[in-house]
């Protein structure tokens, strides 16, 4: 891989990735540890999810800025540095074998609530000297004074299954892509990323404790060029139900279903709107202890891309995807995590392609330590290893591709 190719790869990955961490501003505001709302940063626990669903409010009379200490401002910052070692090998030759220290990134954002009904998040991210918005939205809470209807507008994170909602590693640049089957791109098709924080309008609702939830989002497909933004109407939805088990080793179970129908405009009229679909289900369960949980999430889904989006295709591409993720907190503030992602193509869009063309398997293992030194400052480190196996990866030399990544990062959060 040439230097130019590496630079392009790095820039692309920076552009598509997004961070997700605990918000130290909330810890300051409510006098809580990060662990109150996170099983392990950034993975939200049931209290954190209920807090999020309420528009980042506890509704305890301390939510509004006027009722908090004058020293409180809803501003937070993250600074991250990491070192990454990559070893990539195809069937024919070694493609990459080196390590590098990342210039990292910095985020200074504002997130909180204004009065009972308004919540907001403005999160610009700075990297390589550039600035973009990771998220920027405003939310009207409790439309018609009911938790069953809340409206969020802007660049928003789609309501994904629990463990998927927060990226598993510290970095904004998962060097091998997003390491998520939900971000998989059919070879030759338009990239479509459910984790891509599109522009849109979201309707959400929940009952007390967020036992039953729904989210319905109308958005513009992030896979299309910017000049087509409002010509690619898309919709995403998810429902979930939480079972709290009264006794035994099994503590909580959440079942959910999600789906999206996204469009890409290939021409000036609506007849040229072509679809990308993803439909699936998720199952989360928590074992052992609420304080030190063993959390398992399994996702299974099917993806379909319209043949008109794929060069040389004569039929729609169809594939199955899924992942199993395990998060375990053996002792605060440590976390062990592991994930297995897979994609298996069912129908190749281009006749003659081998059935396994584009199949993908990704393994990820890691350990994380994230600790609040004070309610105004937290720090953490993470070490993980990933192995990605791409069948007949045409992006390199047309043969199978194997990539090992060892990643170590340090983050400071204020």
């Amino acid at each position: 891989m040439t230097r130019l190719q590496r630079l392009l790869l790095a820039l692309t990955l920076f552009a598509i990735a997004r961070p997700a961490y605990g918000i130290p501003a909330f810890a300051r505001k409510y006098g809580l540890k990060c662990s109150a709302c996170h099983e392990a940063v950034p993975l939200l626990n049931v209290l954190g999810r209920a807090f999020r669903d309420n528009g980042y409010r506890f509704n305890n009379g301390k939510d509004d800025a006027i009722n908090t200490d004058p020293s409180y401002w809803p501003i937070f910052a993250w600074v991250e540095e990491n070192y990454q070692y990559n070893y990539s090998k195809s069937d024919k030759k070694t493609e990459l074998n080196d390590g590098q220290l990342s210039p990292g990134f910095a985020i200074v954002g504002a997130m909180g609530s204004l009065g009972e009904h308004i919540s907001f998040n403005v999160r610009p991210i700075s990297y390589f000297g550039g600035i973009s918005f990771d998220a920027a939205w405003i939310r009207y809470n409790r439309l018609f004074n009911t938790d069953a209807l809340n409206v969020r507008v802007g660049q928003i994170d789609l309501d994904m299954p629990i463990a998927t909602a927060g990226e598993r590693d510290f970095t904004v640049n998962d060097f091998v892509g997003n390491l998520r089957s939900l971000s998989y791109t059919v070879p030759g098709s338009r990239g479509f990323d459910l984790l891509g924080n599109p522009l849109g309008v979201e309707l959400t609702g929940h009952d007390p404790g967020s036992v039953n939830r729904y989210a319905l989002t109308f958005f513009t497909n992030s896979a299309v060029a910017s000049h087509q933004l409002w010509n690619s109407p898309s919709v995403y939805g998810r429902v979930s139900h939480l079972f709290q088990v009264p006794g035994g080793f099994l503590r909580d179970v959440e079942v959910g279903a999600f789906g999206t129908y996204a469009t890409v405009s290939l021409g000036p009229d609506s007849a040229r709107l072509k679809s990308q679909e993803r439909y699936g289900a998720s199952l989360d369960f928590w074992l052992a202890s609420d304080a030190l949980p063993l959390h398992v999430e399994a996702i299974a889904f099917q993806g379909r891309d319209d043949k008109n989006l794929i060069a040389g295709a004569t039929r729609d591409a169809l594939y199955d995807g899924g992942d199993i993720q395990i998060d375990y907190v053996p002792a605060l503030p440590f976390e062990l995590f592991a994930r297995y992602n897979l994609v298996r193509n069912v129908t190749q869009a281009v006749p003659g392609q081998p059935g396994s063309f584009g199949d993908q398997s990704i393994y990820l293992f890691g350990i994380q330590h994230m600790e609040s030194l004070t309610s105004r400052f937290e720090w953490g480190w993470q070490l993980h290893y990933s192995l990605q196996y791409d069948h007949l990866n045409m992006s390199v030399d047309g043969t199978n591709n194997l990539q090992h990544v060892v990643w170590a990062g340090l983050i400071l959060a204020f």
Binding site: A36, N60, D290, A291, L332
Partner: protein, 337 residues
């Protein structure tokens, strides 16, 4: 669970000295004394597990205590069990019997007017016109030495909820560790509901209060005292709050009659650790209409009285205080010979 959710305020040792405690108003609970404000049990007694779970689940409005209702109920019970290890009271005592909340009668103009009169006599020295601006408000401290501002009852939220039964329980059980006494021994359920209706009216229709005519206050008849009873008057006036006399000497078997002369409500509460060993049970038996351990009823109106009999007690010194006015130095002693 405690380490995850609670230490930042309550501290790793449960002493209320977590990192953010200096910034919290009110200060986080110190669990070591086993004193819990919000209960269904009589004043002075331990709360039930259900009481604690209610506080953990719903939080305390206007404080840093958030609602943890979303957490698995089993996990909340785990936290409560751990909190109970901080105070030896949980090993030595049982929670009090919950005070029943009778069905709420209809709120009428009469009940609001009656409640207003009762409020003026029993509550206004701290709560003032309802906004917490009573003459004693700025001098009140809690058992931990922290300033304890009376609740502003005109606000739309109070810490434990705005339902009638929430207010009823706060009136009848009081708030342990604070100057807010329990009125269970001195108010009938009907009169307590009258105060509830007045407080609800305060919150919903403060503009109409001027049209409510307080009903006349009258002293509550009390059982006649023995002829040889010694009288101690309870006084609150421009010279301060005090028992007159503040020290008396009696014989075993004699009685002491406490009379609210002015500036009430007053009560008499004996310090359990400043009476002779073994005297707690006969002393408790000798008190009328107790609202908690060694805690006499609140004497709301001028002329209200209660008698404490010292039959069967051991000779020694019995120190007592007035719960609403302890911070103002209202205490005394009885020397039993």
């Amino acid at each position: 669970m405690y380490e995850r959710f609670c230490t930042q305020c309550h501290g790793p040792r449960g002493n209320g000295g977590g990192e953010v405690a200096p910034y919290a108003n009110p200060r986080p609970r110190d669990f070591r004394q086993g004193l819990f404000k919000f209960r269904s049990t009589p004043f002075g007694s331990l709360p039930t597990v259900a009481d604690l779970d209610r506080t953990v689940s719903h939080g305390l409005y206007g404080t840093l205590m958030p609602p943890f209702a979303a957490i698995n109920p089993r996990a909340r019970l785990d936290v409560i069990a751990y909190i109970q290890t901080f105070s030896p009271r949980w090993r030595n005592e049982q929670p009090g019997q919950p005070i029943a909340v009778p069905a709420e009668p209809a709120s009428t103009g009469e009940s609001v007017a009656s409640g207003r009169t009762l409020f003026a006599n029993a509550c206004s020295s701290c709560h003032g016109d309802g906004s917490g601006n009573g003459p004693l408000a700025k001098s009140l401290v809690d058992a931990w030495g922290n300033p304890d501002q009376p609740a502003d009852l005109t606000r739309h939220h109070i810490k434990t909820g705005v339902e009638g039964q929430d207010i009823y329980l706060r009136i009848m059980t009081g708030l342990n560790g604070t100057p807010m006494p329990g009125f269970a021994g001195s108010l009938s359920p009907d009169k307590a509901w009258d105060i509830v209706h007045y407080v609800e009216h305060l919150r919903r229709h403060p503009e109409s209060l001027d049209s409510i005519v307080p009903s006349a206050a009258s002293a509550t008849p009390s059982a006649p005292a023995p002829s040889d009873a010694v009288t101690i008057e309870m006084v609150g006036d421009a010279k301060g709050y005090r028992f007159e006399p503040s020290s008396v000497t009696i014989h075993v078997g004699q009685a002491v009659r406490f009379v609210n002369k002015i500036g009430g409500p007053h009560n008499v509460t004996f310090w359990p650790d400043s009476i002779p060993s073994g005297a707690q049970r006969p002393l408790q038996a000798g008190m009328q209409n107790t609202s908690g351990p060694l805690t006499g009823p609140l004497l709301i109106n001028a002329g209200d009285a209660t008698t404490v009999s010292f039959v069967g007690v051991a000779p020694g010194t019995y120190k007592f205080y007035c719960m609403p006015h302890l911070a103002l130095g209202m205490h005394g002693q009885i020397i039993v010979q």
